[in-house]
Symmetry: D2
Subunit: 285 residues, 4 copies
């Protein structure tokens, strides 16, 4: 894959933004390999993502950052530019279920996910051997029912020591505490095993079986202090029939959970997701 710079911008919509940015890139001989725009008509907010061939540019990422700053200021931009070769550092959290974890690790192992997996934190020992086969550090941190806070402080330290910038709850069966949600805002990605906002909370497949729905789904979203209510990144569904029990749904749902989480994570890692209020703009490829 070619080295690119990813320039991601959001700002109040007004005339001249695209002209200013493309003029800037043009002056530095930037060859744009992917460009995406969106204007939210309701909030009058503008979003843009450019992927620029790094070799075509006459400047490095630090210089780019410095020189772009005045334009960003002029248009009141929230923005960043990233070098695609500086890999995001991902910390995975899991409990006992391995389908999402295995899926992510396998994609990473075969070069499909551009990131560094810096570790797995789990509140059980059962997945250690699988994780260690991938040469990924395994941190066993038990979360006792009666007093969970010390464990979460240990988790925080573990994340920070590893300098992780993306945290993935890969079917981690613990509610992430508010202080971590806030500290890592828009950096914690969860997979919920229902088509949100249906079936929030525990045992969604059981809820789905009781309601008699004809499709079940999964939702990849950023974690906020509000349970299963954060900005949605990706969703998908699969058909079920009257013959499927809650147990069957658990099995069928795994395929959707894996897919939806991996897809959402890839969008996040490639800087394709912009959070706006409680919604996301996803510039999928």
């Amino acid at each position: 894959m070619k080295k690119t710079f990813r320039l991601v911008i959001s700002c109040p919509d007004r005339i001249g933004i695209v002209a200013a940015v493309s003029q800037f890139l043009n002056e530095r001989k930037g060859s744009i390999t992917e460009a995406s725009h969106h204007t939210d008509q309701e909030s009058k907010w503008f979003f843009m993502r450019h992927e620029i061939d790094a070799e075509s540019l006459s400047v490095d990422v630090a210089t780019f950052r410095e020189q772009f700053a005045p334009i960003a200021e002029e248009f009141d931009m929230k923005w960043y530019v990233k070098d695609s070769e500086v890999l995001p550092k991902v910390m995975l959290l899991a409990t006992k279920e391995s389908h999402c974890l295995n899926d992510i690790m396998h994609r990473w192992h075969t070069g499909e996910l551009n990131c560094e997996i810096v570790g797995v934190i789990a509140n059980h020992e059962s997945l250690r051997s699988m994780v260690e086969w991938y040469n990924i550090p395994y941190h066993y941190i038990s979360v006792p029912k009666e007093d969970k806070m010390p464990a979460f402080h240990q988790i925080e330290k573990c994340i920070d020591d590893a300098q992780a910038d993306t945290i993935v709850l890969a079917r981690y069966m613990q509610i992430f505490p508010e202080f971590l949600c806030q500290k890592y805002q828009h950096k914690v990605i969860n997979i919920h095993h229902s088509f949100l906002p249906s079936f929030i909370g525990a045992k969604p497949y059981h809820q789905a079986a009781v309601r008699g729905v004809k499709l079940i789904g999964a939702t990849c979203h950023y974690v906020t202090a509000d349970l299963d209510a954060g900005p949605i990144i990706e969703q998908d569904v699969i058909r079920v029939r009257h013959s499927h029990t809650a147990t069957d749904m658990v099995r069928l749902g795994k395929d959707i959970e894996k897919l939806v989480l991996s897809r959402g994570l890839r969008y996040h890692l490639e800087d394709r997701v912009i959070v706006h209020g409680n919604k996301t703009i996803v510039f999928a490829d």
Copy 2:
């Protein structure tokens, strides 16, 4: 299409039901063209639907009914047998939106739906010409905000006069009153423009846009006194993106509403749906 008898059964599960029924059919030389079974393991309830080539049988439907009664009694069956050539009578209810109505009428017109459409009841005049092109009687019954009951009694009379046995709310923008829900239990089919149980009630696409979901859906269900909470017959979804406003969702959603309603209605008309508690068994072909 060949004339068939449709034998639909539900009863407590126990050994011997299939043997008894198939023995009965065998003795009458019945050639089974479609057979479906389901056992609900939780409630230990058994469901069966047979479609039998009418010409192969040595008995007519009345004799069949009479002779089958003892078996039905032995196994505590809720059951019926229907002649596929006795067409169900369908009353359609609509407001101003024509996409579902047109879809159903066109399918019926081209022989895709095996039923008789006995009329359209609408609380506006705008769809009259379209309906009358199909030679279907159009009943304009206004439903004034301040006092809706007289209108619903008129609707009841209209349904009964036409001897309708299936009532379809084809985007009828009025809440069906409890007394009609009860009178026509499991005979009133509604299309709700969301993937239930998400976004119950008014303006579901607006709710979906606010929540930022990545798929929108539609749900075909039997109407009960509990709003949008009746047994689900069929559902489907369509992908949306950040660029889609609530208005776009309304447009995109229409395609799913039409499909889901027509599919659900077809299952109902072909006696493929059995209601069990608040769920359905759907023996789709």
Copy 3:
């Protein structure tokens, strides 16, 4: 819907195109409501579509055209700019099957398709009444097996008299002759009832049933002299099972044919489709 100008460009890829175009729009105060880019890495070709709020612009479409010409020349662009309120004129061709025709006419009737339907040409009389209900002129042009050319010349005249710029073969069961394919290049849209390139030619559902596929599909494509081999605009599929005969597939397939044709037609009418070699770039919304 707001009046927009749609600027659609394709040209050899090189640095500076976006800067030049956005500078041009910026100088005329153009507010971009939708912008899409694509670079084909293999052919090094660049594609761009802008939708610009017409009221924001300080120029009308003719002046825009005149003033943009030098830029277009500089970059060797194939390009056009269109006023969204100048509606495309669509001629529909059909035989006896009405599902696609009815679907398109109903969408147009309810304001979903931004076009003028200037007529329906059919080689049977059976759809006349339905078409005339929509106040659309119906042209019966028989296509006798032994000598089809006079009919196609009559069709050509009919299209030209109506000044149609888009021709839709809505399940028109005649092969379009080469001279018309060439005359109306990239203006004739067909719906083929299979997932191309599977099952080219006659009776695709029958072919699908024989092969035992588990999904059937439909393909909307531009017609070329090479049968069912033109640039694909849109495709979709639906699941089938062993219980579905070719006849069932015909019925199930209709739903996909309608959807795929209407979606493809909408993309075409909104200038979202650019043909490049034998492929299309579709800037879907």
Copy 4:
């Protein structure tokens, strides 16, 4: 999971089959947990699959087999009955790509696939460590271009030594020779990375990119001597856009390949697939 007997039957259609079979089961107190029927109207052939609670039966599988034989003979049945606890023995074949292999092994490891994986045969060494982590024997059998037959005889011996009854080509990049196709008829399952019959043979994603299709797919089928033309078990598709190169399709396609192969394999292992001519009846749950 409860122990069941699976009775799978195909025979010429005639009246009395269901009665005879259900009478037989009834006499032995068999509690039917799943029953599926199908009649192929064209060939007048009948197919039936029963899953019977083993504990409810008064006979073991050997006695069942013996006692059922006269009925089978009377109706000219091709049939078998299997104990669900006698696990099928699966041999996997792979080259270098690990996505399908890892997916199957992980499902098996977590108890989702009811089988015994007796080994992996590969023509490269690269997957050894992953396979051995699962404690599955790894057989490296090189297939030299100039003379492949000795390798295939070695493969045959390896399959037979392990007493494998199901052979899965999990992206095995070698054409299976005719003598093995014949020897293991309806026992060799392949995943082809296209929506067959489109794009038979090599590099289907490249072919798909050239043709400009809007969906790509995968096909799980039984291997026959006729390349990619055997009976199809399962298929699925995923949407692609003009921005996706052949390389992107390879990546996106993997998700569909895995899913389709695992689904097809599960149907096969649960005796849900009956081959009839070049088609399959799949009694999916």
